[in-house]
């Protein structure tokens, strides 16, 4: 999300699936779209049928590669080197879409003179504090404009003091940084002013030149040595991308967890954003970056987050160090340019929807009822807290961490140390039965009779037994009606949590303790449906927001900061416009154009392609007839086109905002990125990312090779979860010489709870297997369909062996790197069972979003793994041989 959020201002896919059919070239990387999003892939095939070139970059030759025009085998985790080289190719051959780049990106912005690049500091940017493992972004700022009005200069100093206070004052400002980066799901990071710009792009410190220098060493030969991709094939990809960009042609990118699940995940997406901006593909039909989300409503569960560091609409959870009042909480972004400038009205509206009448102006609208975060409370840190006995109660709802989360053993050790655990799911998943049949029971590391966790398994309602909305990968909300009643004790989470909230409030009814006020004042009365649960549409209406007269609002521009409006999630305001559930619209596509605006509802404001102002030239005319999409209608003095314009509807292309304008008024006619405080897309991110303004290739935490580009081996700001249960394989170790990467199969669903329990799916892929190249099979004596044991410093698992040419031995410089493929769906329960590959994965997290590095090193041996206590002994022996200190202090 922050990858897209900081680059463009919103953290969601910039386009939609149908639009892929308008692309002239589609690059699929960090995704196996034909297998993970097969029905969405029809649009890629549509483009292919019209002559588009489809390129798939993936460590393995998958079902996507089978129908792609080019498959580029790449070493897992080395994507930034490949994409950086493409950026270098574009810049050094002047193949960028210059008019687009100058007008719509911050290429012309000149950066602070104190800024130093990784070229000068051996892989680090200026402002790195080695002890805290974090950056101080002060030197990454825009250089102030030559002449500034007094008001601007005064504002600049004010903000500068605030920045300095932030940096020196708080050593533990991770969550501040994380909250800031994650909160750019909607609303770019705030910079204090538009900065000095050299539109000739010649100034040595302008972003364009900095980028050129930064990626100068990312050559095709470097790509061969880092990624294992032959220069000749690299050039074919580069040609395909550049030939299919510009006024007449557009290229689209598709990615998924193949990019997000890395310790440099956000930066991989940043590189793609930079490349697409240089090629001028953002905001245009057949262009953009399609973030392919995994679960049905993962976009929804970050827009309306069950996440620790954000509130609905990407409002940051208040941070104890900075936000002790409503004003402090909104100060960071209030008043800046762009729609994010109205953050106070969004925040107050949220507090009104939480605490209703109890929230008044004089009590900061109950701001003080909000709990505050003090750093990283992400799931892996919480699991560590469970192991250390600091967290006692756990709800696991529609998720299966024992198989789906990384370092499965830590997950189970954590759950074994709880007082109570509530699991809500359709089937008895591994996370509910770890105490009875988990892997640690077999090895003796845990003993059932000594696990004190009290476990409640409450059956859940399926998707046809409850009404509600999902938010899909193209930011579309689609409503589901209820088909049948939930059987037996099954109930929806809506029913369960409403009931739980009611019972908790009943237990605290008489309390005069200040602690309980937030619960007692909570606006928790909803109209009830036939089964006694809250009426789902009433909750959606609350999310949409209501005005002073209680009527449903239709746009977030109607939200006010005076408490007269309430809104559960400001970016979803409009989903209940005109008192109608817009997400429930089902106008058949044959009665609409391809944009199909009357099917479901897309946030924000039902806009299907974001930043579509950029689909028109600076003067408002379409870049070309072939790629016409949104343009300026001179007579009607309005923006018009196939989609809801992502711009101020009546703002002329030549409009220049007056000095000191704030919020939406500060958006100029040539600023398509309306959520960014400078209206431009960020090639260079002065703020908002914990690990640097420009993506830089770092090796994963566990890598078979040294970082050929810099002395700095891994991401300097990566988040390490230091725990005896999370030892790391030393890099380029002979004991763990191979790379493994986990992935999904079409026939199964993530942790297997919804597919390994179904005969029709299990018979399609019945047993866990690993995919290895013929060369590796020969080297380690692995037989096709035989057994293999894969071991890392965490644990060892077994899997059947599939020897296939689809896994290529990659030549990196003078040596071969072998990659092992591991589908991760299996666990101890279900029709067929097996070991969970995620048990192998180490916890090294991306500093922006705390997602783990799914790539790691391992060893592989023929035969099944040891059983019982012999397993931990076998793994410990490996650790010893690799020189990893036993359970002592991390080196």
């Amino acid at each position: 999300m922050p990858g897209l959020g900081t680059s463009f201002g919103r953290g969601g896919a910039t386009t939609n699936l149908q639009d892929l059919s308008n692309a002239d070239c589609i690059l699929i990387e960090g995704s196996n779209m034909a297998e993970a999003h097969p029905v969405g892939f029809q649009w890629v095939m549509e483009a292919k049928r019209r002559g588009a070139t489809v390129i798939h970059v993936d460590p393995r030759f998958t079902r996507t590669s089978a129908v792609a025009d080019q498959h580029v085998p790449i070493r897992a985790g080395s994507d930034i080197a490949f994409l950086g080289a493409l950026v270098n190719h574009v810049l050094s051959n002047d193949l960028d879409f210059r008019e687009y780049v100058v007008a719509y990106t911050n290429a012309a912005n000149v950066i602070d003179e104190d800024f130093q690049d990784t070229e000068e500091l051996e892989g680090l940017f200026s402002g790195y504090d080695p002890e805290a493992g974090q950056y101080d972004p002060i030197t990454w700022r825009y250089r102030p404009p030559a002449e500034m009005t007094d008001q601007e200069r005064q504002r600049a100093e004010e903000l500068e003091d605030e920045e300095r206070r932030d940096q020196e004052g708080s050593r533990h400002q991770e969550s501040h940084q994380a909250a800031r980066s994650e909160s750019h799901g909607s609303g770019g990071a705030p910079v204090s002013w538009k900065g000095l710009r050299d539109e000739t792009l010649q100034h040595p410190s302008c972003v364009f030149q900095i980028l050129k220098r930064h990626y100068a060493r990312y050559t095709p030969e470097m790509v061969r040595d880092v990624c294992g991709i032959e220069p000749e094939q690299f050039r074919r990809v580069a040609d395909a991308l550049t030939r299919n960009s510009g006024r007449e042609r557009t290229t689209a990118f598709c990615y998924a967890v193949g990019w997000t699940q890395h310790s440099v995940g956000a930066q991989m997406i940043r590189t793609a954003s930079i490349l697409q901006l240089l090629l001028g593909n953002i905001g245009r039909p057949g262009g953009g970056i399609m973030a392919l989300r995994g679960h049905a409503s993962i976009q929804g569960s970050t827009d309306i987050p069950t996440l620790f560091n954000i509130l609905p609409g990407y409002l940051p959870m208040p941070n104890a160090a900075h936000h002790q009042s409503l004003d402090a909480w909104v100060a960071d972004d209030e008043g800046k340019a762009g729609f994010w400038g109205n953050v106070r009205s969004y925040a107050v509206s949220l507090l009104k929807s939480y605490w209703g009448d109890a929230a008044t102006a004089d009590n900061d609208f109950c701001f003080d009822y909000l709990p505050r975060v003090t750093g990283d409370h992400s799931t892996y840190t919480t699991v560590k807290a469970m192991i250390e006995g600091r967290c006692k109660g756990y709800f696991v709802v529609g998720e299966n961490p024992a198989v789906g989360s990384s370092n499965g053993k830590m997950q189970r050790l954590g759950m074994a140390n709880l007082d109570w655990l509530v699991v809500r799911d359709l089937q008895l998943i591994e996370s509910a039965t770890f105490w009875k049949d988990g892997p640690e029971i077999e090895t003796g590391e845990l003993v059932t009779e000594r696990i004190g966790t009290e476990v409640f398994f409450l059956p859940a309602a399926s998707h046809v037994e409850k009404a509600g909305s999902f938010t899909q990968t193209q930011r579309m909300l689609q409503w589901r009606d209820q088909a049948v009643a939930p059987p037996g004790d099954c109930q929806s989470e809506l029913q369960f949590y409403f009931d739980l909230g009611r019972r908790i409030r009943a237990r605290l009814a008489g309390s005069t303790d200040e602690r309980d006020r937030p619960l007692l004042d909570l606006a928790w009365d909803y109209p009830l449906d036939a089964e006694g649960g809250p009426e789902p549409e009433s909750v959606l209406r609350e999310i949409n927001g209501t005005g002073p007269d209680g009527a449903a609002l239709s746009a977030y521009t109607e939200l006010r900061a005076d408490g007269s409006t309430a809104c559960g999630c400001w970016i979803y305001c409009g989903v209940y416009a005109d008192e109608a559930n817009q997400a429930r619209r089902r106008k058949p596509h044959w009665e609409q154009d391809q944009v199909a605006a009357e099917w479901g509802w897309v946030w924000p404001a039902n806009r299907r392609i974001l930043y579509n102002r950029a689909s028109a030239a600076p003067d408002g005319t379409p870049w070309s007839e072939r790629k016409r999409y949104v343009w300026w209608d001179a007579e009607a003095r309005r923006w018009t086109g196939a989609d809801v314009p992502d711009f101020v509807p009546d703002r002329a292309p030549d409009f220049v905002p007056e000095e000191g304008a704030t919020g939406p008024d500060a958006i100029g006619g040539r600023d398509p990125f309306v959520m960014q405080t400078d209206g431009k897309a960020w090639l260079f991110a002065p703020l908002g990312l914990a690990d640097g303004p420009m993506p830089t290739h770092y090796e994963p935490a566990e890598s078979p090779v040294r970082n050929p580009l810099y002395g700095q081996q891994s991401n300097p700001t990566r988040k390490q979860v230091r725990s005896p249960a999370n030892p790391l394989n030393p890099s380029w170790s002979e004991v763990y010489p191979y790379v493994f990467t986990t992935y999904r199969l079409t026939e199964h669903h993530t942790a297997g709870g919804m597919s390994r329990t179904l005969p029709y799916l299990t018979e399609l892929q019945p047993e866990p297997f690993c995919e290895v190249s013929p060369r590796l099979a020969a080297e380690r004596g692995l037989e096709h369909l035989g057994w293999a044991t894969i071991v890392t410093s965490r644990t060892a698992i077994e899997a059947r062996v599939i020897v296939t040419d689809r896994l290529r031995s990659l030549r990196l410089g003078d040596r071969f790197v072998e990659q092992i493929g591991l589908p991760y769906h299996w666990g101890g329960n279900g029709i067929t069972t097996g070991d969970s590959p995620n048990d192998l994965v180490n916890l090294t997290l991306d500093p922006n979003v705390y997602i783990q590095d799914k790539v790691g090193t391992c060893d592989i041996r023929p035969g099944r793994r040891p059983r019982g206590p012999a397993l931990p002994a076998y793994v410990a022996d490996y650790r010893r041989r690799a020189g990893i200190p036993e359970a002592g202090e991390e080196t």
């Binding site: 034909a34 097969p38 095939m45 025009d69 032959e230 005969p759 019945p766 047993e767």
Partner: protein
């Protein structure tokens, strides 16, 4: 009377339906856009309540379904082949041609194809079925009537493609019905509706054949010379298939017979020789008594 082999324009009329019968429906499976997702296998089983049949990792690439049979009416085949024998130069930059069959860097080809009953113009299974359980529907498709079949198994030996089989614990023969019940209600068969990339196309057979010819020409023009149609020719050994294919390699690579022929084509000769033999036996009988007394 009814024709036994060779071209046949109106299979329904040949099976006794009057002139206002609906057009002949069928499948055209364009394997060049198949992504091997097996949605067709699941959608078919879900609609027809076909039982699951075995959890076995076969090692045959991603095909653990193995073959068509009584409890598998759709089967997606997976073949991993080196791209070298593509009949096209793979060295040097590929033309801008649609290389859907090959990975651009001459590494590997991964063929996928969703196999199904061919609903032949001259169907061996239908011809040999003694009870009339197998019959030609008004849509020109070939269907087993489960309330009639007594499990004699003759159809299993008469199918040149090895599609139909007896279901072990049930005793009767089963195969794809081209969703005969859905067709009666004007609906699309479950597999065709589910197929994400429309590799499986359902429609009137004549129109599908035209569409297939256009697609073949389009692929040849893009340099994919290995593309060929299989079962489209009304003059082939089964009179052309109701469900035909666009393949990217020899048929036997997918487990399909290169030159399938309906046994009925030689039935005339079979009956003739049976007649001769019967006469011979009768002759023997007479001769046996015409000789000397003892």
């Amino acid at each position: 009377m009814g024709s036994l082999w060779g071209g046949l324009d109106d299979v329904q009329a040949d099976a006794g339906y009057d002139a206002d019968h609906p057009p002949r429906m069928g499948f055209f499976t364009d394997t060049s856009v198949c992504i091997g997702c097996k949605a067709c296998e699941v959608a078919c089983k879900e609609w027809n309540d076909v039982p699951d049949d075995g959890y076995l990792l076969t090692g045959m690439s991603y095909d653990n379904t193995q073959e068509l049979g009584a409890s598998t009416w759709r089967h997606v085949a997976f073949v991993e082949k080196p791209a070298v024998d593509l009949g096209m130069p793979t060295v040097g930059p590929p033309r801008d041609a649609d290389q859907s069959a090959a990975s651009g860097d001459a590494g590997i080809r991964w063929l996928m194809s969703s196999d199904v009953c061919k609903h032949c113009t001259h169907a061996g299974c239908l011809d040999v079925c003694p009870t009339g359980a197998l019959f030609r529907t008004e849509f020109g498709t070939v269907v087993v009537q489960p309330d009639v079949c007594n499990g004699c198994g003759y159809c299993v030996s008469a199918c040149p493609y090895g599609v139909i089989d007896l279901r072990k614990d049930d005793g009767r023969a089963f195969k794809c019905t081209l969703c005969y019940d859905r067709l009666k209600d004007g609906q699309t068969p479950a597999c065709a509706q589910a197929c994400p990339t429309e590799s499986i196309q359902f429609g009137e057979l004549d129109e599908l054949r035209e569409r297939a010819d256009r697609r073949l020409a389009e692929l040849h023009e893009r340099g994919v010379d290995v593309a060929r149609l299989y079962g489209r020719d009304p003059e082939d050994g089964v009179g052309g298939d109701g469900a035909f294919f666009l393949l990217l390699d020899e048929p036997e690579v997918y487990g399909l017979p290169p030159d399938p022929v309906v046994p009925t084509r030689t039935l005339g000769s079979v009956w003739k020789h049976v007649g001769y033999a019967a006469a011979a036996v009768a002759g023997l009988g007479v001769a046996a008594f015409s000789g000397r007394r003892r």
